[in-house]
């Protein structure tokens, strides 16, 4: 149930995924339209990270399908992957390369025409231009996060997936992240934000979806305040 009228960027239908005997996702449907930000919340172990990996194409669902801009995401059609970017717990950056080399590498992987220049401008945009020749291991968590986001957005994906991006960020960094995500959303990016702390996502999201034991407990447009939603949330996750 998209909250905007923008084009449908991501459509997942009937996703099922088990790890061994544990059924992690049970018949999950999700649609994300341009300009939407869906906050996916739920207790630990509910399937949030698995869902994100399936949406990113890193894990294959046992059943069901993911479509990006109408095209099915399949192993034998790697080009579709361009439409998605992922910011996960790890930065996906190599410690032995500088920030600039890291982003240039990513740009080359995506076949961008002027990789080094694209990397440079992405770093400048993220306010990391001055540190472009440093190793990622020298960066604070907040700055490393910024670099990871710059990397994820380098190839101009239509959908950005984030796995608990606010973890371990200080107040200033969180604020900056929220502003950036809001701005991108307004530019038409579709966002799926996994979080187990609702507060951090509330300022960014247009929709809230709660997953409990692999199923949606709710999926609706954001309305009202966080305080108003919290009691209902506690109830949904069975606290």
């Amino acid at each position: 149930m998209p909250s905007s009228d923008g084009p449908r960027l991501l459509e997942a239908t009937g996703l099922r995924r088990a790890y061994g005997r544990r059924q992690v996702l049970r018949d999950i449907d999700l649609t994300v339209a341009a300009g939407e930000a869906v906050a996916v919340a739920g207790p630990n172990g509910a399937g949030k990270t698995t869902l994100l990996r399936v949406l990113a194409g890193l894990a294959r669902p046992d059943r069901g399908e993911v479509r990006l801009e109408g095209q099915p995401l399949r192993r034998d059609s790697p080009e579709i992957r361009r439409a998605v970017g992922l910011v996960s717990h790890q930065t996906l950056l190599y410690d032995d390369l500088t920030l600039h080399e890291n982003l240039t590498f990513a740009a080359r992987l995506y076949g961008l025409p002027t990789p080094a220049a694209a990397a440079r401008s992405a770093l400048d945009e993220a306010g990391l231009g001055a540190r472009a020749d440093e190793s990622p291991r020298r960066l604070s968590r907040g700055l490393a996060q910024r670099a990871a986001i710059a990397r994820a957005l380098l190839h101009r994906p239509r959908v950005l997936l984030l796995d608990e991006p606010f973890t371990a960020l200080d107040a200033a960094a969180s604020e900056r992240l929220r502003d950036e995500l809001r701005a991108r959303r307004e530019q038409g990016l579709g966002i799926v934000l996994v979080t187990h702390q609702l507060g951090e996502a509330w300022a960014v999201a247009t929709r809230i979806a709660v997953i409990v034991e692999g199923r949606w407990a709710c999926d609706e447009t954001l309305a009202g305040s966080l305080e108003g939603f919290l009691p209902r949330y506690q109830e949904l996750i069975g606290a």
Binding site: G57, A59, P78, E79, S88, L109
Partner: protein, 226 residues
């Protein structure tokens, strides 16, 4: 240039650049190889066997052991940074990813071999003479064979707890045909035998390379994709 090749070179280039910065794997492998040569020298009775009879076996056992050290590196670095996801997210066909890792590993192992060979000549007083081009050729042929299988096995071993132990256990049976072939050809080269005597072994090496490069590229996706 076909896209998969471009991607493979990009990935290989990244690995080589990162390794040149940290130099951990190559240095350990080279030091290890030198030590193995020293041990071999003291472990034999110089009056019992001429150095030239033992030479091919010593050289190749050293190459094989050092290669196994170097091989672990390519995927350990991805695991450390969980960066493999970054490679899998991108529109990179898995065959290209395998080719990239293979090329990087060939560069590492090749470098170790290039440093070990002169040490070997030095310690064992072997006269390579006209055999050198042939030795380089057979080294390339055999190395492709075991590095190909070693690359895919190191991708698997890195997901287990005892990666450094698992890789040799899995890989050693696969190293035997290239190793036998390499030793046989090296021995004949050093003895100045004609090419016709080595053709059977060279064909074996070439066929092994062909079969396993193709097969490993095809099954690589089963290792990296969930």
């Amino acid at each position: 240039m076909p896209e998969w090749l471009r991607l493979a070179l990009v990935i290989a280039g990244k690995d080589v650049r990162a390794e040149l910065r940290s130099r951990t794997a190559i240095l350990s492998a080279v030091v290890f190889a030198a030590l193995v040569l020293v041990v071999f020298n003291f472990a034999r009775d110089p009056t019992a066997l001429a150095a030239v009879d033992l030479a091919p076996s010593v050289l190749w056992v050293t190459f094989a052991l050092a290669a196994m050290l170097a091989l672990n590196r390519a995927f350990t670095v991805e695991k450390e940074n969980a960066a493999l996801d970054g490679l899998l997210l991108a529109p990179v066909p898995r065959e290209a990813l395998f080719a990239g890792k293979l090329l990087a590993n060939l560069a590492f192992v090749g470098t170790v071999e290039a440093v070990t060979l002169p040490l070997f000549v030095l310690f064992f007083n072997v006269d390579l003479g006209t055999a050198l081009p042939g030795i380089i050729g057979v080294t390339a042929l055999a190395t492709v064979g075991f590095v190909t299988v070693g690359t895919i096995f190191s991708a698997m071993a890195v997901r287990t707890r005892f990666a450094e132990l698992m890789l040799p256990v899995l890989l050693l049976p696969f190293m035997v045909p290239p190793l036998i072939g390499a030793v046989q050809v090296t021995a004949r080269l050093l003895a100045g035998r004609p090419l016709s005597e080595m053709m059977g072994w060279l064909r074996l090496l070439a066929l092994y390379d062909l079969v396993f490069v193709i097969l490993c590229s095809l099954v690589f996706t089963a290792v990296v994709d969930e």
